[in-house]
Amino acid sequence: MIELVQGKIDLERVIAAVSHPGAGATVIFVGTTRDHNEGREVIRLEYEAYEEMAISELQRLVLTAQTQWPETRAAIAHRLGEVPLGEPSVVIAVSSPHRAQAFAACRFLIDELKKSVPIWKKEFFQGGEVWIGTQQGTPLPSSWVRPDS
């Protein structure tokens, strides 16, 4: 299960998607909108995605995880639109017969998701708004050329 959802993420549903009788361990990552970021008090947050590509990138990541940790199953739900403070914006569940693999695959998926999946977060704070991102976070092609140079 890979989903981009408007409205609250149903945590139990994400977990149910990876449950099976041989899965002794499930590791779940829940990413929540924080009230502070880099010293700013955050008022609200909005997420936007390049949906078709986000889905295909997430599928690619899940396949990569299943290749590296063959007994794992993974499900990912990411919320789009406005996300009230304190509510989950992303949930990743990974089940496995053994916990080491579930931990490793879950960590891999959230790290890669944040690096390469085209989903953007806009933070609204007292006195302004900002798109959150980092150049390092986006895969830079080797032939990268600064357009202004």
């Binding site: 590509m53 080797s142 202004d148």
Partner: protein, 89 residues
């Protein structure tokens, strides 16, 4: 030939549109397309060092040669990290 350009997040706000078809020359590269886009939407220039590109939903580099009907997306930095390292106005 023409390509569909899709704008997201900061790029969407600076261009003022979500997508548009752009005429490009045969064998145009992404770098060539980018020059056209900056002429068309000067506010995009400030994002230059921060933007990545996807063609047909795959990340690629600016030397990539476009084909008729390609879907090109401007990908500002994604939401994972801090704003450190990305210089724009």
């Amino acid at each position: 030939m023409r390509v569909l350009v899709r704008y997201f997040a900061a790029a969407r706000e600076r261009s003022g549109t979500t997508e548009e078809w752009i005429e490009v020359e045969e064998s145009a590269t992404l770098a060539g397309l980018w020059s056209l886009l900056v002429q068309r939407h000067p506010a995009l220039a400030g994002l230059g060092s921060c933007i990545s590109f996807a063609v047909n939903r795959e990340y690629t580099d600016r030397l990539h040669t476009l084909r008729d009907g390609d879907e090109v997306a401007l990908i500002p930095p994604v939401s994972g990290g801090s704003t450190g390292g990305c210089i724009h106005d």
